[in-house]
């Protein structure tokens, strides 16, 4: 697969660049665009982004490594990020992790063989008042119960 931003993403990148006095500052936006388009940030993707912005690959890698939300390896179609930090832990966050782990038969950090689901334990997602919760890709699922989790996973496994 040739690594190249879509026209739309190139336009978005130009827009992002116009927000800052330096090109470097658009790096985080560029990595976001890349992650949405390519799914994860491979070495080739990072090199491509670096070339576009005139930033050395080493710097791109350093930034990508620093921030946990940039995927440095492929993840499943649905990235289940369950919060287990203090407020969620008190409301059963670990039970949610165990339940999903058993149901999907994957451990933390693993992806189902069909590539649909990846399960990870997340730090506080700012949803402590609606614990337990998880983030699935960009969206939040809050006040989780077994039934709710079943329904969510059911729906996602069909999509």
């Amino acid at each position: 697969m040739e690594i190249k931003f879509t026209e739309e993403n190139l336009k978005k990148l130009e827009e992002a660049k116009s927000h800052y006095p330096t090109n470097d500052a658009a790096l985080m936006s560029a990595l976001w665009l890349a992650q949405y388009q390519f799914g994860w940030l491979s070495t080739d993707v990072m090199k491509y982004v670096g070339n576009l912005l005139n930033i050395p690959y080493e710097h791109v890698l350093g930034v990508a490594e620093f921030y946990t939300m940039y995927n440095k390896k492929p993840v499943g179609k649905h990235h289940l990020q369950v919060c287990t930090n203090v407020s969620c832990m008190l409301c059963g966050g670990y039970d949610v992790v165990d339940y999903i782990s058993n149901k999907l038969d994957i451990g933390i950090g693993e992806t189902t063989p069909d590539g649909k689901f990846t399960l990870i334990e997340a730090e506080c997602l700012g949803s402590c008042g609606t614990a337990p919760m998880m983030q699935i890709n960009d969206y939040y699922e809050e006040n989780l119960t077994k039934d709710k989790i079943d329904a969510i996973l059911d729906k996602l496994s069909k999509s």
């Binding site: 470097d24 930090n85 832990m89 730090e123 008042g129």
Partner: protein, 434 residues
Amino acid sequence: MSDFQPIILKNITDLQNIEVYMKNGGYSSFKKALKLTPEAIIEEVKKSGLRGRGGACFPTGMKWSFMPQKTDKPKYLCANGDESEPASFKDREIFEKNPHQFIEGTLIACKAMGIKTAYVYIRGEYYPWIVMLQKAIDDAYAKGLIGKNILGSDFSTEIYIHRGAGAYICGEETALLNSIEGKRGMPRFKPPFPANFGLWGCPTTINNIETLANIPPIIENGGEWFSKIGEPKHAGSLLYGLSGHINKPGIYELPSGTLLTDLIYKYGGGVKDNKAIKMIIPGGSSMPPLTADEIEGLKMDNEHLKSVNSYIGTGGIVVMNEDTDVVKVIKRITKFYYHESCGQCTPCREGCGWMLRILDRIDKGMGRNEDIELLRDVANNIEGNTICAFGDAAAWPVKWAIKKFMPDFEKKVKESVELPIANKVHSLRLTVQE
């Protein structure tokens, strides 16, 4: 339930809609500010007694006055919406329910400090709220409230959202600057302070989202009016967050100095299953925890919390019932700091891992008698010895939990199971699994 009329999370349907916001007097404070001198705005904010809502409680008016009025360099404002301190979830409520009041506050701040570019730094996970705020910003642009020559005046300013990508430390103001510059979010040494040397070496002010959302009512009603809300030394309302073992978790906007017992029993509906309280975190995971004995009559503002050796922080209150395993909770919190340390300072980087390993073995019943002392020693060696306040944030929960909940630690150590040596070595190796 309370006669207090919220000044940020107002009880108005669809307030996030710009038409509704403007119909209810929205952007009139900004229009008023457009006619005021920078000094007059800053004076009003000083008079209000508003203190930063990002955790450090720094007086906002004073912070603004540090910005040089005359300089050849561009000046910047950074609105801090990183909100990654565990148990904090208030700023997202503003993005969702009243984004325009925050935008209006940002505009007034820019006017007061002569700033032409403001960045709103929002944690990457808050994608849905980034979308909401961007919509509000776009609507304000469309009405000519942001951009060039706003409302026909000679005042111009742009507001951009900068999306983070998962790093608690980027909430620290100088790490946030590096992150906006497109670098790794490593805190900088201070001095130089951001007011002189911030974004790209230019004068920069960093304010929390809630802080800025408080500005429009201050300009509207005057600093003196604001200074009379709540506790004089920590004026205004606070967005208290209730979570944990509580019947009605959520964000409650109430005057500063609201009784903790009122927050828990009157507003929060009491502890789940009517249980007794074991421990309370008063303002986000970094703040020293409280015992059940300390909460009676305790007013929730920074000054009063000092009397129990804690602080208001972000106002995120975690209620823990009598069955809570204190060691487990502190271990989970420490795991967070271990994960989030940026790694620049040895005491923080190594200390967090060390604390986690000791807590883990105490928790697993393999603690040694000297472990509690060792743990305290490690925490003390982190506190005050690091580039940024993250070090203190990591050390405090451990240090104060030991002090206030010693019997819980001792009990776990005493109950230690004596494992065969081989097993012990094996499990110690496996303690930190990441």
